[in-house]
Symmetry: C2
């Protein structure tokens, strides 16, 4: 890929993505696959005035080795220096950038039970820090090609060609045009107008139907609002947490979901695909489910903790989206969740509550925002999906017809 | 390179190199060039019983970016989480492995003055930790090929071929034979016998002469002894800090060095080569010096702090060494210092003092072991180097003739 276009992408991540402020620190998590691009991102952060850019390189195969040889106790316990890192985040509120290039199958064969136990042991130690950081910092997840990921998408091409093709797909769906910063301003304006319309309706429930069997109703929190595109941190800084993003999303009301949803795409999780699955909800909770493939992994997700069986997100994405239009399954949530309407099990977003800046996290959760250590998106959008809103004043308003916006 | 031979090399580093003990942590610093080999080293450490292996990936171009954009204050100040890391080292005494693959020219163009200021600012913050760790932990520096380093040695070859050639050179000089662990036992026995003989002589001074103009006398500390090959930590664990190693070394007496030494090989430093240089010592101190190329860099080394102008090491390596015999200048101290006799400016090694286990660091330094934030080796061995020892009972004993051992 040409350096000039990569430089634009790096700038997009630093400026539109995390929107680095003068004197801020930036922490980047990146795989080993595109070091030169990571360097460019660091440079663009510095040019915007970053005080210090720290890169935490992440090599997926080592996670697998650690999982195999370390005890749950060892991996599940935060060391003092890891705690000191979290303290630093809470004190300095640095920007966080995640550049994902992982092999979707990279964790295949890992001991899932052990992984879950480690996660369950670590989470309570991290939770206090996470709660203190929630909505306070700018962050951005974006993608860069890794060889295994590229070959997964384009198995018939050489490694070099596959990498190039994946760069093209990432850059196109991430709106890396001649002037990506301007393209994102326009895109944000569109998403913002959609959300404004949705928020003007006073929606009480959304009712989903599709020919695959989906027949599902989810309740809204009256105080919640749809959000999409950029976000504003509690420090008042506008940033774009996902590159790309196509969704208008909201946190639904914990305890209000009835009926059955059929997944419309496989869910790539821990290096494996959960395929052909459905979940039935009663009083907001997943009470029954089945996957034709990797059902145990689905069960692990839904039973990870008490909140994992409840919904944390409900996102509207037209089927005619740039990502869907590539015709690719990316095996990566960042892309696949922006290809179609989706729901997420687990943690909801407190910042979807109007005036959340003035509220405590506990108040937001009391209104119905779900809490969990997990947040797992799964796709339910199909070409024939219909969504109707029933408003608080009793009207029925079409939201989606034939998989796309009805307004 | 074949996986089977790389696996042997990984094992050599874990077993013979740091000699991981059951339940110990291991911290590895590695470039991004050979992730699969790093994974093998981690696996071998785990197989020996490591509790946790942590890899700190290091990408040299980022150091250059940081140096360009960060303030001296930012880079010169240890953050709390960095201090917590040092605390962890002091508490847990983990093994430390450094896998070097850096481009010898990678830091070319960096602001040297700024780098020195940063180092001078950081050092006092790190010194207390370093003193607490000195001689207590097992560590090992070994090398793996990086593309820029390989092309520097073999500019006429393709990148792939150059990498392969550099693997061959590294593995051959590191004694990665059919049974590398056994080969290292034999090599250690030989070095140990050489040291025993040197230590039996009661050497007061060593006198170096060569046709290039070197005419130099350095004084020994009566309590010091030559060491070579493996070392034993204060915890009583035998390890091999350098792979490869060919030297018998000692810390000379601070304040006792007279005459002039001519470097016999370029000194690769901060991505640049200091070439054709000499240093004149008076009362142990470098008082005059000149390099035909990069004299300023040589001046920066010698004037880095008060101890930098004094000698910390004096090492004997036969000219007929496996590394010299490759005919390669590696542009890497680990190899080049083991190709010929060398001296080092800066910090001396307290563990060359007999019975140092019972002594404090201060006592060792009071005997004449130099202290400094730097330790920079430079080569003085030539094919015609002669070294004579003058012993405390007044005898003159030949140590080197024609660049090789005289005994």
């Amino acid at each position: 890929m040409k350096k000039t276009i990569l430089r634009k992408y790096a700038r997009l991540i630093a400026e539109t993505g995390v929107n680095v402020q003068k004197g801020q620190d930036v922490f980047i998590v990146a795989g080993l696959d595109q070091p030169d691009f990571v360097r460019m991102v660091a440079e663009e952060c510095y040019k915007l005035g970053a005080a210090r850019v720290v890169v935490d390189w992440d090599y997926q195969p080592l996670a697998k080795v650690d999982n195999k040889f370390c005890s749950v106790e060892t991996l599940g316990t935060l060391t003092n220096y890891q705690k000191a890192r979290w303290d630093y985040y809470v004190e300095k509120i640095p920007c966080r950038i995640y550049l994902d290039s992982d092999d979707p199958d990279g964790l295949r064969g890992i001991d899932q039970d052990k992984m879950l136990k480690i996660q369950q042991m670590r989470y309570p130690q991290i939770k206090a820090y996470r709660d203190k950081l929630e909505n306070r910092y700018q962050w951005c997840i974006a993608a860069v090609p890794g060889p295994a990921w590229a070959k997964k998408l384009f198995p018939e091409l050489s490694k070099r060609q596959a990498m190039e093709k994946l760069w093209e797909a990432i850059l196109a769906t991430s709106r890396v045009t001649e002037d990506p910063v301007a393209a994102w301003e326009e895109h944000n304006a569109d998403l913002s107008a959609r959300c404004a319309h949705l928020n003007s309706l006073g929606i009480e429930t959304l009712h989903y139907t599709a020919s695959n069997g989906t027949d599902f109703t989810v309740g809204m929190i009256p105080e919640a609002e749809f959000k999409g595109g950029g976000d504003t941190s509690l420090q008042g800084i506008f940033f774009n947490p996902n590159i790309p993003t196509e969704e208008c999303f909201i946190s639904p009301k914990r305890g209000r979901a009835e009926g059955i949803v059929y997944a419309s795409m496989p869910l790539s999780r821990e290096g494996q695909l959960i395929e052909d699955f459905w979940i039935r909800f009663r009083e907001g909770k997943a009470v029954e489910w089945h996957a034709e493939k990797n059902n145990q992994l689905l069960t692990n997700i839904i039973t990870a903790d008490e909140g994992a069986a409840y919904l944390g997100e409900c996102a509207l994405v037209p089927f005619d989206s740039p990502i869907q239009n590539t015709g690719l399954l990316f095996y990566n949530t960042l892309f696949d969740e922006n290809a179609a309407c989706h729901l997420a099990l687990g943690m909801g977003f407190a910042d979807t509550i109007r005036g959340f800046e003035e509220k405590s996290l506990e108040e937001c959760r009391a209104l119905g925002v779900n809490d969990s250590m997990i947040h797992v998106d799964f796709m339910i959008g199909t070409p024939d999906l219909s969504i109707d809103a029933v408003t608080r004043d009793g009207k029925t308003v079409p939201i989606f017809r034939n998989g796309n916006w009805a307004f």
